[in-house]
Amino acid sequence: MLSPVMQPLVKLDRAPQPARTKIAARGVWMTFPGRGSDAQPINVLEDIHLEVRDGEFVCLVGPSGCGKSTLLNIAGGFLQATRGEITVDGQPVTAPDPRRIFIFQENAAFPWLTVEENIGFGVKRATEAGRREVIEHYIEMVGLTGFGTAYPRELSGGMRQRVEIARALAAEPDVLFMDEPFGALDYLTRLRLRAELIQIWQREKRTVLFVTHDVEEAVQLADRVVVMGKRPSRLRAIVPIEVPRPRDLDDPVCRVLREEIFGVMGLDHQGLQASPDSSGSLPPSTDPD
């Protein structure tokens, strides 16, 4: 099934996107064995098709439990799809790879290493001077100058997440997979880190696949927002966000796009279920979560 693709609301004079496909999901299905005695296998993903271009920032949004993290974990090589495959640069993903770094919501900065040691963990440089240079560069980029010898336990949650982002960037990957990386942070910290992430991405030009349940976050960050529905998930829509960055959340175009995405998810902006939607999804009370 092909997803409906929304027309961009505004046309902007932007440099043409590089057409090269970086990540491609082709007919990805994921089925988990059910729990309990009358175990029915649970279809989490059904026939997902998606292409992400080189250097593109794509957000996956959907209600919790919809399988967006599962899809990201398959792309990262941590899970194997039941059917179909995900390729990066045309090669099927079978295992995690240092060219594609995953950033976790729970924060995976190693607590037994200092900030510098964490950031240096995946640095591929032959000389010590080269290593130092990379570490210093990324410490500065994420605004942790002066905290190099601190341990993660001495930092705030937002700073720990910066350590993990810097560690990922310092390994010089082509792709970043981010699984609700700001989900555990307070609202203001989240806003700041979003703005910083966009600045970093504009400078570094890596391909980013970013999972979030926060539609506002997706609209602020992404080139395109991929909307997923309730389980079993197919892609409901792919919404291009052609608004120049940095984006103001109160920008009328952003607000309209947000409403549209909520509409696709089957909710109005107050979180109430909108008129029965065409895809025939289950009402919220029978959601398996």
Partner: protein, 253 residues
């Protein structure tokens, strides 16, 4: 400041009261065998003058250190492997669970049979006594490692032995250290018991020998107090280790 003063004065008050009760209890019951605190101090000084006290402390500490370190070198790698490879744990766990509740004291006859009456018997008993807490703590430590650390490391291309060295061991270390502290406490309990039977030096030997050779209960109690103080010292050392940056992140309670 007040809290600090209280933490010194209150225990000191208890100690003074305890010594006073002990002193008057001996006087009032008219015991001619059980010593007063003063006699115990005199006995301790006598042992120190003869050079016996230091020799016995060194002998006991040597046995504990040797047996404990042997258990560390066997128990930590063994525990890490069992914690990591589920089939290995399935295979070994029943045997561990059967051997674990057997008190090291019950092994004394076996130890004498195998090693005779020399240092190796108590070292073997210390080794056994420490091995189980260290192994079980290491197993649990590995199984409790947060999956994100392992996944992150694999993502950076770390596998095999490097994964153990760079991630599994450091991530498990805080909980392993808790096991080491427990094991050292047990080891110190056991060395005293082992020395009462299997050797002729050490603080355990001092206690049993003082009783057998002329009912010198002043020396018995002196030995007991030394055991308590040294045990406290060993635990203090382990608590200092818990302050290191390598483990503090996992022990902040």
């Amino acid at each position: 400041m007040r809290a600090r003063l209280e933490s010194i004065l209150l225990p000191l008050g208890v100690a003074v009261a305890f010594v006073a009760v002990w002193h008057f209890a001996v006087i009032w019951t008219g015991s001619d065998i059980f010593p007063t605190p003063r006699m115990v101090v005199a006995g301790t000084l006598e042992l120190a003058r003869k050079g016996v006290l230091l020799n016995y402390i060194v002998a006991s500490l040597f046995r504990v250190t040797t047996g404990f370190l042997l258990a560390v070198f066997v128990g930590i790698p063994f525990g890490l492997v069992l914690g990591w490879f589920a089939p290995a744990l399935k295979a070994f766990n029943p045997a561990i669970q059967v051997l674990r509740p057997i008190s090291p004291i019950a092994w004394i006859p076996v130890a004498i049979l195998w090693f005779g009456v020399d240092d190796r018997a108590p070292i073997f008993l210390i080794f056994l006594a420490s091995l189980f807490p260290i192994t079980t703590a290491s197993i649990a430590a590995v199984r409790n490692i947060q999956l994100v650390y392992i996944r992150a490391a694999q993502n950076f291309g770390i596998r095999g032995l490097a994964l153990f060295q760079k991630v599994v061991l450091p991530a498990a270390l805080p909980q392993i250290l808790t096991g080491l502290r427990l094991a050292l406490g047990v080891a110190w309990l056991v060395v005293v018991a082992a020395e009462m039977i299997a050797v002729n030096s050490g603080l355990g030997y001092l206690i049993i020998d003082a009783r057998n050779a002329g009912k010198r209960y002043d020396l018995v109690v002196a030995g007991m107090i030394m055991i308590g103080l040294i045990g406290l010292g060993l635990d203090w050392l382990m608590r200092q280790a818990e302050k290191l940056d390598e483990v503090r992140w996992g022990l902040n309670r």
